[in-house]
């Protein structure tokens, strides 16, 4: 019996956050066992996956990016036909060939907007493109300001605060069954609680437990002031958008999970595993989208 020199990562469609985070950590390139798997290649085995969601895809993309940036080749080894179709519909196979192949060509499935490597210079273009893509394909005459604005705020946040060694990824998908748009932003940066505590330390304030530090980040006018232009309005805006559409927000950052439920209830939880950065999943329900209206009347600001 020959033992493969190539590591196989079994991609699982976890529904449990802690198990998902443990799986992610154990499969990171920094934990790669070069002695057991000397080949600089990884097989991705999707045979255990049945219902992959954006929050599986975006962290997986960060994971792959780490391997590729260390010179590993990535190959999809096994999939069931439905998952193969799904991955192919937004060019995931091409992405595995090379992370630089993250162009914004239209996907085969109009419900999905392709995975995008977050780049500072393209984030405005990307945000507008996602918003217009879903408006044009699914919500004609409606205003998806909340999607564009939330995505814009989250991408700005990554560049201002994450200090990620690798770029993050974002992925957006429309679920026709639940009438919701799920947008996901993931980075392998320092994490929100760490960023808040780093700021508090700098200003001589007491360190907070990670769950409290995460909640602190959402306070209006609180900013970790990584950049002089930060004023602490971004998170309040994202949360306001989600509440307006009775949506859902999930944030996994360091060892903290934060959930804002559609009924407005908030749960924050600490667990033993540590997410290597931040994963944000915004679910916007689309049944109450406003109509697009342009006003030509003059509006006073004061």
């Amino acid at each position: 019996m020959t033992i493969s020199k190539i590591k196989t990562i079994h991609v699982v469609d976890f529904n449990n956050v802690e198990t998902h985070v443990k799986w992610l950590n154990s499969n990171r390139v920094q934990n790669h066992n070069y002695r057991a798997f000397p080949a600089k290649a990884i097989y991705l085995d999707f045979s255990l996956s049945r219902f992959l969601k954006p929050y599986h895809i975006a962290p997986l993309a960060c994971l792959i990016h780490e391997y590729q940036s260390k010179g590993f080749k990535i190959k999809i080894s096994k999939t069931i036909p439905r998952i193969k179709d799904y991955l192919g519909s937004f060019g995931f196979d091409r992405f595995c060939d090379s992370v630089t192949e993250t162009g914004l060509e239209d996907p085969r499935d109009q419900k999905t907007f392709p995975l995008w490597l977050i780049r500072d210079e393209g984030k405005e273009f990307y945000t507008i493109r996602v918003k217009e893509y879903f408006e044009n394909n699914h919500f004609s005459g409606h205003d998806l300001f909340v999607l564009g604005n939330s995505l814009g705020e989250l991408l700005n946040n990554i560049f201002d605060h994450s200090h990620s060694k690798i770029p993050g990824y974002t992925f957006t998908q429309y679920n026709t069954r639940t009438n919701s748009i799920i947008t996901c932003v993931c980075d392998f940066g320092i994490g929100i609680p760490n960023s808040v505590n780093r700021f508090l330390k700098k200003t001589g304030e007491q360190k907070l437990a990670n769950d409290k530090a995460l909640e602190k980040a959402f306070e209006l006018s609180f900013s970790a002031l990584t950049k002089p232009h930060n004023r602490g309005f971004g998170w309040d805006t994202v949360i306001g958008n989600i509440k307006t559409l009775q949506g859902r927000l999930l944030i996994i950052s360091n060892n903290t999970v934060f959930v804002l439920h559609p009924n407005g209830k908030i749960n924050t939880q600490l667990f033993t595993s540590n997410f290597p950065g931040t994963l944000i999943v915004v679910t916007l329900y689309t049944s109450n989208l406003p109509l697009k209206e342009v006003n030509s009347d003059e509006l006073d600001l004061f």
Binding site: K123, E132, F145, N156, R231, N295, L299, L301, F302
Partner: protein, 98 residues
Amino acid sequence: MKTQKIILKDITNSALSNADGIQLEVVLNQAISDGYSVIISFQGISVMTTSFLNSSLGNLIDKYGIEILSNIRLVDYTSTIASFIKKYISDIKSLSTS
């Protein structure tokens, strides 16, 4: 008071980043120092972030005080953009009085 119309799309491609906001701030600053009241057209702008507002209206408020906004009016805006800007100004006002 003389009025100057600023078409946002003529000075920046989007209203999403701090860099976009700074471009508007520069033009607003110039117009205000020249004694103009300003009408900003948001034609073709359908999404905005607080980073943009921080670096445009926010910086202007820091420099001149909130009353400077009485010299600025908006046209060609979507309802969502108008609500967003109004909320931002309301937050600034409430924070300055708290």
